[in-house]
Symmetry: C2
Subunit: 174 residues, 2 copies
DNA sequence: AATAACGTACAGTTTAAACTGTACACAACA
DNA sequence: TGTTGTGTACAGTTTAAACTGTACGTTATT
């Protein structure tokens, strides 16, 4: 364990966590998740919930929920250590690839989901055409319909650009 | 003005705002900013603070701070309407370009700023080398130093990928 | 010059997110 | 089978963000 007492080292570690977190927050991580990831990232070997709790000064419950969140985002992995009962976790080594793919994955999932919602909304509007005319808002409703169309194009553009980036980088690795 | 009373249209507008906002939040906008942007985006012509306040059901003060935030991010522009005293605002038409460049701009600025901070931190660590050895944490401090280096690489990678995307799309426009 | 209209600072409030501690379910070990 | 160790659900609390209303400075209009 790294635990004894290294005040100077710990000061530098704290500054590092503080600093790195800002970057990760740009990728949509909450401040808490970002901090937790960094703690794992700068630690030389896998940590348990208790280790993290101690290192972050937060409760073990926080670590549990935080780790789950990071796992779901594919930024952290569980590791088995023989002879130990506790779960160990470590941060993915390749920041670029894991953050980029995590981010892009989230985007695409969100875009897919929204595409359905938008089309459902458009269908609803089309179905209500008669009532909209009655109401005298048909013209503006058409504009709104068109906006949904624009939004779908937006999704397509972003998705295309993102997957292009990802493909580019995965090639580079090979 | 669009204001009279179009309950059905307004219902669709509300749903649209609700739905679109999610997408914008993926680009780091707060829920409030996202909603405000969408309100402007789906409105057929420029709006005043009072218009927005009415459309969103939020206070005028909220609109004022929200609009300022959107202006700073380059997502919205102020428009002059002759004969009117109030300020008018409209959303940038090209979602893709404005959000992408806003996002990337923010990223690059953040990365630049952090590069300085990291180098300052590294310098500090180098300067404290002797004390770190004394403390017995020199080895782990070296690892930490190395992490800062990795983070700088990460910044460089992301910045490169982002600017590439932006360039790609700006070409496409021409 | 006086009045009215407009946008924003600021202090206070509300709302939502993050965090904690206890209590419990489950698995490992004896 | 009982006992201890481990992760997580849940309710309650703390902390931070979003929002509001009043009050004020500024600019346009008369």
């Amino acid at each position: 364990m790294t635990s004894v007492n290294y005040p100077l080292l710990e000061e530098f570690q704290a500054k590092t966590v503080q600093e790195f977190s800002k970057t990760l927050e740009m990728f949509g991580l909450t401040s808490g998740d970002a901090r937790l990831f960094i703690i794992l990232y700068i630690h030389p070997f896998p940590m348990t919930l208790d280790d993290m709790s101690k290192a972050s000064g937060k409760s073990k419950t926080s670590m549990s929920t935080g780790i789950r969140s990071l796992l779901e985002q594919g930024l952290v992995e569980r590791v088995w250590v023989k002879g130990k009962r506790k779960d160990f976790y470590q941060a993915n080594k390749n920041l670029y690839l894991s953050f980029l793919s995590s981010f892009i994955e989230k985007w695409i999932q969100q875009a897919d989901e929204q595409k359905d919602n938008l089309e459902r909304l458009q269908a609803e509007m089309a179905a209500s055409n008669y009532e909209l005319v009655e109401e005298g808002s048909a013209e503006e409703a058409d504009l709104l319909y068109e906006k949904a169309e624009e939004m779908k194009v937006f999704h397509a553009c972003v998705t295309e650009a993102f997957t292009k980036i990802l493909a580019l980088k995965e090639d580079e690795v090979n």
